[in-house]
């Protein structure tokens, strides 16, 4: 099933991206080829030495929204630009894009020829009598295949992110695996395991109740419930390694593994610390109000997950996968 979901995510991603880009070709939301009219507040006029205008391009939000045919901004547009005239007399405009730029232009610059600039062709430049301002019309570079570019970029970015996440785990994994090894040698995990045997025996009937895997799973679930995700992942991975020692068919998930994963993905947590922190930061009168509702939600998810794992493992197709 993971095969289909995985290829599904990629194919849907590609098809929707192409579909969106074709729609953009028809609707032209970036106004490719159409002149944008604005006022240039001149800071440096061309002199004998240099043929460059420098200044700020300004426009009202109404004009901006009318040009793009949608509500794109609510603020006055004011962007530093330079306009230079080439040898052939054609003038080109280069606009710095910063965090203060309108979101739509930032979006366009991402797919443009230069990441931090928006380039355009000046079709009209009429200085006012006092040389302080000028009327300009500019056709920005054509923006095409925005989504397809974004999908390509995302594939590369996320591949890098995956490596960063894994490398970030090395230190913390080593720390917890070391501590766990000491607890194992000292016989502490066995003590913990014995106490919870009545529960674990039902959840994982295939696992001998005194197996080290049980201790690691208990530690992982406890860490998860306390919201100690830094500790939970290494402990969970240790549990998976222990479970794999009992795996009769290498490379295939056992029933116990799936049940263990169901408990993990249910995400039962006593204190949803991240959600509470975000609520407090957003100025909530009572950030902790979601503790109870989250426990109900995660509790239902966990029960449903464990039940589903127990029922689905009996289906012939999943049974057959386990046979050697």
């Amino acid at each position: 099933m993971l095969n289909y979901i995985w290829i599904g995510l990629i194919l849907i991603g590609l098809f929707v991206a192409v579909g969106n880009d074709i729609t953009d070709e028809i609707r032209n939301p970036y106004r490719n080829g159409q002149p944008f009219e604005a006022t240039l507040i001149v800071k440096k006029a061309p002199s004998g030495i240099r043929a460059t205008w420098e200044g700020d391009i300004v426009a009202t939000p109404e004009a901006f929204n009318a040009y793009y045919g949608a509500s794109r901004t609510a603020e006055q547009i004011s962007q530093p630009v330079s306009i230079s005239t080439g040898a052939d007399g054609a003038a080109s405009l280069s606009m710095m894009i910063t965090d203060a730029s309108p979101a739509w232009w930032r979006e366009m610059a991402k797919s443009g020829s230069s990441k931090d600039r928006l380039i355009g062709r000046v079709v009209l430049l009429v200085p006012a009598a006092d040389q302080q301002t000028a009327r300009v019309q500019v056709v920005f570079e054509s923006i095409r295949f925005v989504k397809l570019r974004a999908v390509t970029q995302a594939a590369l970015d996320y591949a890098g992110l995956a490596v960063n996440i894994a490398l970030g785990l090395i230190g913390i994994m080593a720390l917890w695996l070391g501590v766990m090894k000491v607890a194992e040698e000292a016989g502490l995990l066995q003590v913990l395991t014995r106490v919870l045997t009545p529960v674990t025996k039902r959840l994982f009937p295939e696992i001998p109740p005194d197996h080290p895997a049980v201790g690691a799973m208990i530690m992982n679930i406890a860490a998860n419930m306390l919201g100690l995700s830094n500790a939970a992942t290494p402990l969970g991975l240790k549990a998976m390694e222990e479970l794999n020692k009992l795996n009769p068919k290498v490379g295939t998930a056992t029933n116990a593994m799936v049940t263990f994963l169901a408990i993990n993905t249910g995400g039962l947590i006593i204190l949803p610390a991240t959600a509470i922190a975000v609520r407090a930061a957003a100025g909530s009168a009572n950030p902790g109000i979601i503790i109870g509702t989250s426990i109900v939600g995660a509790g239902c998810a966990t029960i449903a997950g464990v039940t589903a794992s127990k029922l689905l493992q009996r289906l012939p197709r999943y049974k057959k996968a386990m046979e050697a």
Binding site: M1, L9, I10, V16, A17, V151, A155, Y158, A159, L161, A162, V163, I165, A166, L169, I170, A174, L177, G178, V179, V182, A183, A186, L188, A231, T233, P234, L237, M240, L243, N244, V250, G251, A253, M257, L261, A262, T265, L271, P272, T274, A275, I276, V278, R279, G283, S284, G288, I290, I291, S294, V296, G297, A298, A301, A304, G305, A308, A321, M322
Partner: protein, 181 residues
């Protein structure tokens, strides 16, 4: 009572890790385990485990990244929001429900955004934060946990995870509507 419970749990989360170090290593010392040597012996595996999950994580995250960047989420939302509205799920929270199993940072971003726009104590704000707390990043967990032991045939893990996610989201909608509507 709620406040007390919250500060109690906060104290527990604070002391849990130092306490674990103390008890585990202290117990080892009492049982005459050579703590330093055994610790190092165990810690050796850390590197291998982290390296082993890389291909699984790259495969999973790249696919999720492509899906997210394409704008497919918006399309999916416009298709299924009429159905989810029937069960009392505000359409604004649908992206949250769909993103939660795929991406932890993505769903965190959506939750923050929803609170900024609608307020943390609005029905939407409470529902989004409950949804966030009601599930885990299922596909990340599957990739990382199975990656550690090089499992390629995940058998019923994916349907199980999806069933758990759907149940968690439905329960979140139900309980929040019941208590805060």
């Amino acid at each position: 009572m709620g406040e007390f419970l919250k500060s109690f749990i906060e104290v527990i989360s604070l002391i849990a890790i130092p306490l674990m170090f103390l008890v585990f290593l202290g117990w080892g010392l009492m049982k005459k385990v050579k703590v330093y040597e055994v610790f190092v012996e165990g810690a050796k595996d850390g590197f291998n485990v982290a390296i082993r999950i890389i291909p699984y994580l790259v495969a999973m995250l790249a696919a999720i990244g492509m899906f997210r960047a394409s704008g497919a989420m918006e399309l999916l939302i416009s298709i299924i929001s009429p159905v989810t509205s029937l069960i009392g799920m505000p359409p604004e929270t649908l992206p949250m429900a769909l993103m939660r199993p795929l991406s932890g940072s993505g769903s965190l971003g959506i939750m923050t955004e929803l609170m900024k726009v609608h307020g943390p104590d609005s029905l939407i704000g409470i529902m989004a934060s409950t949804m966030y707390g009601s599930s885990e990043t299922t596909f990340y967990v599957i990739a990382v946990y199975f990656g550690t032991v090089s499992i390629k045939n995940t058998r019923h893990a994916v349907p199980t995870g999806i069933i758990a996610d759907v149940a968690g989201m439905l329960a979140a909608v139900w309980i929040v509507n019941l208590l805060f509507h």
